[in-house]
């Protein structure tokens, strides 16, 4: 049996899955105490299940996200070396940020050595400020981690934890590397405490199977391994919904996935079972990061959004949620009240909902039913407009080769899949607004928890070989090997595969049958004057988001 648990803003959903089927589901209100919420959700779900039968547990939590948006991060010191370009002071983060001399160029050649005494001085001023965690970042460290390793070597022993930029991602983006490294350092202790407490609760319940956390890219990572990079467990909610849609439906063709929640609607696109990834990384609060994520978009419209008639005589839905719908005793009319009024939803107090609708439509001269009908249409149209803009933006992404320009593969959704509480009630309206067939799966209400439960481990590596520099680097996996002038793409491919599999296994993947995809593969001959001086090979491969084989077996 597999346990999946998704902590949402208002509800925490949990499911139990056996032989590919959801055998139990429970909703628990989310409270301010995350661990208490998790404990209650576990009790509500597991009931009389024998804990020994649980072979896997996966959680999508809000720990890191909450800490970031509520500004509860620990202090972390930063030592940054940059060289020419944008002023590194512009990316200052945290209470003790230090720029030191030292420079690597875009190939990873050292053009200025790292200033040892400046690093030592920075470290002592960080320690003097009482800060025990450190982040070190240098520009182009993904091409050559030497300066970051040097800094960690010189001063790391004085700190309780050191986060290094090149370990986060092989992608280029110095400001994002600084921000992400800082988050990993500043979340380290909080995440460690959280995961220790979670492990304690699980042990208390007799649950000893492998434990995973969901990441924003729709993949999972072993709970113990996540401690090195805690920021990558942040904001996994939208990913849980995409993976849930994938698990419950399969998403053939080009599917627009809409997760209609209480406060927001999240959207994403799945192409033949593979969700689209964001090109660079997710934004967490004020921080642009290098944390890989699914491409999702969120708008402030959901079942509990406040509805009101504006001065101009038009209905306004959202973006505010005042609380429960009127029919449940809440303060403001909502789309859920519209559903109740129209008899689409058998819940709450129907007469209270209808009264709330009548009040909204009063100035326009509409009765309760007409108002409710217009609200649901308006909600669907707003979601449709936002979805169209989302798809337009996907298609406006730049491309860099003739091949890509000519191929011009535009994303054009052919159907819509809706999950979330109001899915059955709103599906017809959204289908009409978008002019596309619209469906909702079984277990639409707990899809996120299902998604967390059956998402497989993901991993990605970025390989850069430079025969002129005589080195091949896989930054995320801390691999740096010497190579000779004859290093080939084939050698790069087999090294990449081996390292990716090893990395995935460390992150908790079952090493059998890993599906590897090549995300980028380029080789350039480097010419100086008219002479060939070397070869530059760039390779990006990954285990893309998908479902664990056990789920597929269950069907």
């Amino acid at each position: 049996m597999i346990l999946g648990l998704d902590v949402g803003g208002t509800q925490t959903d949990a499911v139990l899955i056996q032989e590919g089927r959801v055998v139990a589901a429970a909703k628990t209100p989310t409270t301010g105490d995350l661990l208490a919420t998790l404990r209650i959700a576990l009790e509500n779900t597991l009931g009389h299940v024998d804990p020994g039968r649980l072979v896997r547990m996966a959680f999508s939590t809000t720990m890191a996200t909450n800490a970031i948006v509520e500004d509860r991060l620990d202090d972390a010191g930063m030592i940054v070396s940059s060289g020419p370009g944008l002023n590194p002071e512009w990316f200052s983060v945290g209470p003790s940020y230090h720029v030191v001399d030292g420079c690597l160029d875009h190939q990873g050649f050292e053009t200025k050595p790292l200033d040892r005494s400046a690093v030592m001085n920075a470290a002592s001023s960080i320690l003097n400020a009482g800060i025990p965690v450190l982040g070190v970042v240098s520009k182009f460290s993904v091409r050559n981690p030497w300066h970051e390793l040097q800094a960690a070597d010189w001063v790391g022993h004085s700190f309780s934890h050191v986060a290094m930029g090149h370990r986060i991602s092989g992608a280029l983006n110095f400001p994002r590397r600084i921000a992400t490294t800082y988050l990993n350092a500043a979340l380290y202790r909080l995440h460690k405490n959280f995961s220790d407490a979670l492990i304690h609760i699980l042990r208390e319940k007799g649950l000893s199977g492998p434990r995973y956390l969901l990441k924003p890219d729709g993949g999972t990572i072993d709970l113990d391994m996540s401690i090195q990079r805690p920021a990558q467990t942040a904001q996994s909610g939208p990913a849980a919904s995409v993976m849930g849609a994938l698990a419950l439906d399969g998403c053939e063709g080009v599917t627009l996935v809409l997760d209609v929640g209480g406060t927001t609607t999240d959207m994403s696109v799945v192409i033949d079972g593979t969700p689209l990834l964001k090109p660079l990384g997710i934004r967490l609060g004020p921080y642009q990061t290098l944390i890989r994520s699914l491409l999702t978009h969120s708008i402030g419209i959901g079942g509990d959004s406040e509805v009101r008639m504006a001065q101009d005589g038009k209905l306004k839905i959202g973006p505010v949620r005042r609380g429960e719908p009127a029919g449940f005793g809440g303060p403001a009319p909502t789309p859920t009240d519209a559903m109740i009024t129209l008899g689409l939803l058998d819940a709450g107090k129907r007469d209270v909902s209808r009264l709330a609708m009548e009040k909204v439509g009063e100035t326009a001269g509409w009765d309760g039913a007409a108002t409710a009908e217009r609200i649901l249409q308006g909600m669907a149209e707003a979601i449709a407009a936002s979805a169209r803009a989302f798809v337009y933006d996907i298609n406006a992404q730049p491309v860099y080769t003739i091949h890509e320009v000519l191929a011009d593969q535009r994303v054009e959704p052919t159907s819509v899949l809706i999950i979330g509480g109001p899915a059955p009630q709103i599906a017809g309206y959204i289908g009409k607004a978008l002019g596309l067939p619209c469906r909702f799966p079984r277990h639409y209400g707990v899809a996120n928890a299902v998604g967390a439960a059956v998402a497989r481990v993901t991993s990605e590596i970025t390989l850069q070989a430079d025969t002129q520099r005589g080195s091949v680097i896989i930054s995320e996996a801390a691999v740096e090997n010497d190579i000779d002038a004859g290093f080939t793409m084939d050698q790069a491919m087999s090294l990449g595969r081996a390292v990716l599999c090893r990395q995935a296994a460390i992150n908790g993947a079952d090493e059998k049958g890993l599906e590897i995809s090549i995300l980028e593969r380029q080789a350039f001959t480097m010419i100086r004057g008219y002479m060939r001086t070397g070869r530059n090979i760039r390779l990006k491969m990954g285990i893309t988001p998908g479902l664990i084989p056990e789920w597929k077996r269950g069907g």
Partner: protein
């Protein structure tokens, strides 16, 4: 989050799958390190710097400006169309008001491509700027355009295309043609009979440093622009004046380029040459993008700047001061010696054009009708050593009745002659014909 002071569009098309030949400087990885640097600096995360997706230009965009022999398909590759198309994307972004200025970082370059195209000259087949300018004129109704060509090589293709156009001010700053390809671009080349003084060449001696460039810009180029009052300023932003460039001898740095761009403030910049792909282009391009966005560029510097950059020698400073003095006298203070030309008179010239990359010899015979009322119709009879013998007739935008009539007459007459093809480029009626 960082904000751009001015909203800036970026069109990046490195064409990673296109090269002239395996060891040619114009090859696949030319913009690779630029992209690395731009990505690593996080420039695309800056609020107000917007990257656009390229699209290919169509043959109809090329026909407004070029006579391609025998046709567009024969002298272009997909990459040429996408490079020109990238400029159209940049133009749309600016003219629709989405951004204040835009930089098209595209390859292959275009400023050596002339009006008649038999093949590749100086790595260029299609003149990206000209295709863009005529697209802008057609779509947005703009007339007065200034091109400031800061590539180290003379922009002979752009000069040729706008030689007869009084609505286009073409200024080229370049390394003296006596010391560098294509060997043209001297101060006495000032434009055709209907556009005298609209072509301005500023040849600078080898080793000119950023002081020299910025002096020329301040003392000559900016006053010329002020006087012309263009609706649009285009920068042909070649980056081969860089002190690291392997095929030229100038002494410009990334910060110099940034300062030049910040002062010139072009509406649209289009990348031209620049072949120091590892140690100049990444820094120059970052500097230009930041300058366009109105950001402080004082930390942009080549890694070898402190060791390898030499200030401009004083004799060069003196030489440039004299040159600027002389050119100011000619172009700003009424000293231009114009050749008188009677209304309706047909002026003729003949010349030889060499295509270095494709080894084509072309012989041209050109006729233009002198006209006070419009830019004037012209025709070009062109013969190449590849056996082509064509006649190309151009009727300009805003052509007067007489010029339209003479254009039609030349075309008619040509179709009865012994040409392999006769072309008509009628910008008034939007008719592009070929026999």
């Amino acid at each position: 989050m960082l904000h751009a002071v001015r909203r800036t569009g970026l069109v990046f098309f490195p064409a990673y799958d296109w090269a002239i030949s395996p060891s040619h400087p114009e090859r696949e990885e030319r913009l690779l390190y630029t992209q690395d640097q731009v990505l690593e600096e996080g420039l695309l995360d800056i609020d107000g710097i917007i990257e656009y997706r390229v699209r290919p230009a169509g043959f109809e965009d090329i026909r407004r400006i070029h006579f391609c022999v025998p046709d567009e398909a024969a002298v272009t590759t997909e990459s040429h169309l996408i490079s020109a198309g990238g400029c159209l994307v940049a133009a749309d972004a600016v003219l629709k008001g989405e951004v204040e200025s835009a930089f098209a970082l595209v390859r292959p370059p275009g400023h050596h491509a002339m009006r008649v195209v038999h093949g590749n000259r100086g790595f260029c087949n299609i003149n990206n700027e000209a295709v863009m300018i005529e697209y802008i004129r057609e779509k947005y109704g703009i007339r007065r355009v200034a091109i400031v060509d800061t590539d180290c090589h003379h922009g002979d293709g752009s000069q040729d295309i706008y030689w007869h156009d009084p609505n286009t001010l073409f200024i080229s700053i370049h390394q003296d043609g006596r010391t560098l390809y294509p060997g043209s671009g001297f101060p006495h080349e000032t434009g055709g009979p209907n556009a005298q003084g609209m072509t301005i060449n500023i040849p600078l001696p080898p080793q000119t440093g950023e002081e020299g460039f910025l002096y020329v810009l301040e003392e000559l180029v900016m006053p010329l622009l002020e006087k012309f009052e263009p609706e649009l300023v285009i920068n042909s932003a070649g980056q081969d004046n860089h002190f690291n460039d392997p095929i030229t001898n100038m002494n410009f740095s990334a910060r110099g380029y940034a300062a030049l761009n910040a002062r010139l403030r072009p509406d649209i910049a289009v990348l031209e040459g620049g072949y120091a792909v590892e140690n100049a282009l990444p820094y120059v391009n970052v500097g230009i993008i930041m300058a366009m966005a109105g950001m402080d560029t004082s930390c942009v510097k080549e890694p070898n700047y402190d060791t390898d950059y030499r200030p401009q020698p004083s004799e060069i400073t003196g030489y440039i001061a004299d040159l600027v003095d002389r050119l100011r006298g000619v172009f700003l203070e009424g000293g231009l010696k114009t050749v008188p030309c009677e209304e309706g008179e047909v002026v003729q010239r003949s010349r030889d054009i060499y295509y270095d990359t494709d080894n084509i010899h072309e012989r041209q015979h050109e006729k233009i009708r002198c006209c006070k009322a419009c830019p004037g119709a012209f025709s070009i009879a062109s013969t190449s050593n590849r056996g082509q013998h064509i006649l190309a007739v151009h009727v300009p935008l805003g052509a007067c009745r007489a010029c339209r009539d003479i254009g039609s007459a030349w075309f008619e007459e040509g179709t009865r002659g012994a040409f392999t093809h006769v072309y008509l480029q009628d910008r008034v009626r939007g008719v592009y014909e070929k026999t």
